[in-house]
Symmetry: C2
Subunit: 326 residues, 2 copies
Amino acid sequence: MRAIELSFDGNQAGLKINDTAAVPVRKKGQLLIQVQAAAVNRTDLVAKETGNLPKGNPILGVEVSGTVVASESARFPCGTRVMGLVNGGGYAEYAVMNVGNAMPLSEQLTFEEGAAIPEVFLTAYQTLFWLGKLQATESVLIHAGASGVGTAAIQLAKQLTSAKIFVTASSSAKLELCQSLGVDVLINYHEEDFSQRIIQETLGQGVNVILDFIGASYWEKNLASIGTDGHLILIGILGGTIVQDVNLMTLLQKRITVSGTLLTPRSDAYKAELTKEFVAKTSELFAVSKLRPIIDAVFELEKAEEAQQYMASNKNKGKIILKVSN
Amino acid sequence: MRAIELSFDGNQAGLKINDTAAVPVRKKGQLLIQVQAAAVNRTDLVAKETGNLPKGNPILGVEVSGTVVASESARFPCGTRVMGLVNGGGYAEYAVMNVGNAMPLSEQLTFEEGAAIPEVFLTAYQTLFWLGKLQATESVLIHAGASGVGTAAIQLAKQLTSAKIFVTASSSAKLELCQSLGVDVLINYHEEDFSQRIIQETLGQGVNVILDFIGASYWEKNLASIGTDGHLILIGILGGTIVQDVNLMTLLQKRITVSGTLLTPRSDAYKAELTKEFVAKTSELFAVSKLRPIIDAVFELEKAEEAQQYMASNKNKGKIILKVSN
């Protein structure tokens, strides 16, 4: 089969097309999927940059949509349209997926849309509800609101709670997208200090939950923006890893919980439990388009390198998809 | 009544004995307690140092034991022996206590022992189980193992779980006390690097939960000692507030949750819920002496100043109690 693999030129890892990759062998408890679309994720870029093969698989890609072509599952027999996380191997014509990670793909959604759902919506669900403990009448600040996880988190917070939603983004175009999804307070971080705006909008109380992809450069402002008993969830560190002078007294006095998380390295059991709860809470909402994946661009599988460069440029609003032409 | 109050000489706060303090007025939902014993806590020292009156009460003290002398509670009628948290007002002959904070004091325990239980055992319970999510077969590192919260946490972990218990302390006498409570691994932090010992003892896996009273000076070693999905609970900062160079990548890669907490400023509802669960899980264990308060010293109420100085010197193993002679 055709697949996009990491290849090494000395210590430098790059992507190469392999037209004769082996179709993966389905094990017990797995589905073999004929992949129709896969999505590009930052974890794929990190793999290329560091040369570390996630789960040892030379084929990149952690989420796909497609059709089941080999299965022993009564719930997902051959011919079923599915989407879900995979342990690598997504940038390919065929991939294996644990049954516990598979989600039915509604007829209302295209395969490109299906590939745009698992990683960002599951991450958003996990961070908002499992880690952030967001309650119905609380408030949440979502940084990088126009990103894949950002747009998913906005929609989930909007549809599953009555929480007041704050976002930051870098441009009016990105903020318009956030507004269309139902955000209450839009903050262009180039034009104003987000923590001052949040303190003002919450009458000094701060928000209950913050989803942060930025890290070090936002640390002080995040702590100023968060309220008592708040949860700060770190899911990326695009703005640097080292924070100088962290004041632990603030953590104690505000009783703040800071959680670092990554979805990809977690266990299959964790992902399966998350997937199950997510499907129960959201499948109806996807079917009636109250939740919808946001796609920025679709590339052919063979253009994976360009797709990754596009993601690295931070210009996308929503997901970047690789379409597999069979 | 006689009470120990904060008094101000210019900006400098000190303790003074007031022989004509007003007996507090019991409100609906409260008990009036004839106090037999109160305990000294670090929060009292902070109040004296900063001159901030906790909850506006000039009388210090956040936990007492005694006898109910006015009540509308069927569960705690007049004459009942009780112990529990109070919102200030503990260093006195009488104090009011919310019914939700009251715990029955078993006949097997003295009033001095009763006053030694609420703050440290509730804090230890909250941090181990509500924040630290300690599971039966996990592992926990308890810093300052011979302190009030430390000795309570060791006993609760030992009696309510099968977790492997690590402690640090500064002397062999303190470590002997910890050993008598059932600790598995004793670490004298003056003699060895605790993180190296923990990495070695856990075969590189690290511990699941850390209870830390020290803060900044232990930050790096705590992060080295903690395992994947671990919980680091900060309940004090005796070792400094400012951490230089916090690496957020460690939080993400190990998926660490850091929670700052203080019990005293929390809401009455929170304390009542915690008290209720604590009583359900522990009252039998106190009655048969499987859990026991550790008392270091008992002072007369009038010697509150000396009692606080003794706490400030960090020499105590277990609680410092003020006994009220009626």
